[in-house]
């Protein structure tokens, strides 16, 4: 079947999509957007997190046909000319090691911080990122990155 959606603000069409195929597969293998990572394929790891109609979801658990006509934003869509502050903070704080979990964490952290007023409390950051697994960092640098991004974004807004 054919699936047409808006991805990162641009119309996108994928043909010959199998009916049981995930949105993640369509993004990575048919639309040349490999930013969202394919790891657990069961919603456990969060590395495929994208925004579907502005709501963070695991793209591996969305049937491609369910995204027909919808708006999808992937990690590739967050940078506008320069890296998004969340992306820059992950680099600056050393929150990226192997990098496999990074795209999902960045999309999920982006969603947290666009709704946050200032720097969120640690329990709120941990709760927001509870569905994103990282096996390298021990999470401390990721928390550093989210707090750094939050303070930079609050500074920009002030």
């Amino acid at each position: 079947m054919r699936v047409t959606m808006t991805v990162n603000g641009e119309p996108a069409t994928a043909d010959d999509v199998w009916e049981g195929e995930s949105l993640l597969f369509v993004l990575r293998e048919r639309l040349a957007l490999p930013g969202s990572k394919n790891a657990c394929e069961q919603g456990e790891c969060g590395s495929c997190t994208v925004l579907l109609d502005d709501v963070p979801v695991c793209a591996c658990l969305v049937a491609a046909g369910q995204a027909e006509g919808r708006q999808v934003v992937t990690v590739e869509g967050l940078a506008r000319g320069e890296l998004h502050p969340v992306q820059q903070a992950f680099i600056d704080a050393g929150a990226v090691q192997c990098g496999f979990c990074t795209p999902g964490l960045i999309v999920q952290a982006y969603d947290l911080l666009r709704r946050a007023d200032g720097v969120p409390a640690d329990p709120d950051i941990r709760e927001a990122l509870a569905g994103n697994l990282c096996r390298c960092t021990g999470y401390q640098k990721i928390l550093d990155a989210v707090r750094l991004a939050a303070s930079r974004m609050a500074g920009d807004a002030a």
Binding site: M1, E19, E41, Q42, P56, V57, L61, A63, G65, E127
Partner: protein, 295 residues
């Protein structure tokens, strides 16, 4: 495989009648896992995310009619007042991404003994609304679960809603797992104290082939509260009441050993959860949570 995308409930039940092997999909948090892992190759996927009748809840005739497609995130954001027990259970589901997609109707459709909503729906005396081209019927939650991942739903039926009485007093839910997020329950327990009716509701999760009630524990607690005049006095629970309640709740379980825990651990832990939840619920009652919610 077919991909069916009805735009109304009428279209959806017609499609289910035509393709009884079609697997309904809403949030996909169970169905897509099975497809991704080649565990399931259904004749068709029946996407219910564009059926407007399923996505809302309303308070009608004294009951919350919760559309089958209402997500856990919606339950948490909108129903903490009317359905505190269900909101507590919803907060323990998966992760934010899962709660944004997963639905109460999908939890029921999967009919896992470990489904987080089920103990709450049993404790509250909820009913599942099922629809087909033949019409619509209500299935009491206590009659809905037939076995592991088996429900009373017929092949041509879709879950359209759950009818849940607004809390009639304190509600509690507690769940055991290895961490707070992304955990399938080792066991879970839900409780409702119904002040006006002088009755108690319970639900056990993940400790039997289906979610279970604990009728002996319910009768014991309601009797103990009535005998001592505690519904009226709201005095502290007498010694031994929560202990005995926990023992009877544990005795109602029919657990097995599996990768998440042993039967013996589950039974022990259920007794602890029952004791804790009754202590929390009674504290709420004593602090004035005694009236039915009414929106």
């Amino acid at each position: 495989m077919e991909f069916l995308q009805p735009r109304s409930l009428a279209e959806a039940v017609k499609a289910k009648a035509e393709f009884p092997g079609a697997v309904p999909i809403a949030g996909g948090t169970d169905v897509m896992v099975e497809i991704n892992f080649d565990v399931r190759r259904p004749q068709a996927l029946l996407d219910l995310t564009r059926v407007p009748e399923l996505t809302a809840w309303e308070l009608a005739d004294g009951m919350v009619r919760l559309g089958a497609g209402v997500t856990y995130a919606q339950v948490i954001a909108e129903l903490g007042g009317l359905l505190p027990g269900l909101a507590m259970a919803a907060r323990t589901v998966g992760s934010p991404q899962i709660r944004n997609r997963g639905t109460v109707g999908g939890n029921l459709g999967a009919a896992s003994p470990a489904g987080d909503c089920h103990p709450v729906l049993l404790a509250a005396g909820a009913a599942v609304q099922a629809a087909s081209v033949r019409g619509s019927r209500l299935i009491p939650a206590a009659e809905f679960f037939l076995g592991p991942k088996r429900s009373a739903l017929e092949a041509d039926e879709l879950i359209t809603a759950v009818l849940i009485p607004p809390a009639r007093g304190p509600q509690q839910f507690a769940k055991i797992g290895t961490r707070n997020a992304m955990v399938i329950a080792v066991c879970a327990f839900a409780l409702e104290l119904r002040a006006a009716e002088r009755s108690v509701g319970t639900g056990i999760g993940s400790a039997g082939p289906t979610p279970l009630r604990a009728p002996d524990a319910e009768a014991f607690l309601a009797g103990a509260l009535a005998e001592a005049g505690l519904w009226e006095s709201a005095a502290p629970l007498p010694d031994g009441v929560s202990q005995r309640f926990g023992e009877l709740a544990a005795a109602a379980a029919r657990p097995i050993d599996d990768v998440r825990g042993t039967a013996a651990y589950r039974r022990h832990a259920l007794g602890v959860l029952a004791r804790r939840t009754v202590a929390w619920a009674w504290d709420s009652y004593r602090q004035g949570d005694r009236m039915p919610r009414c929106g």
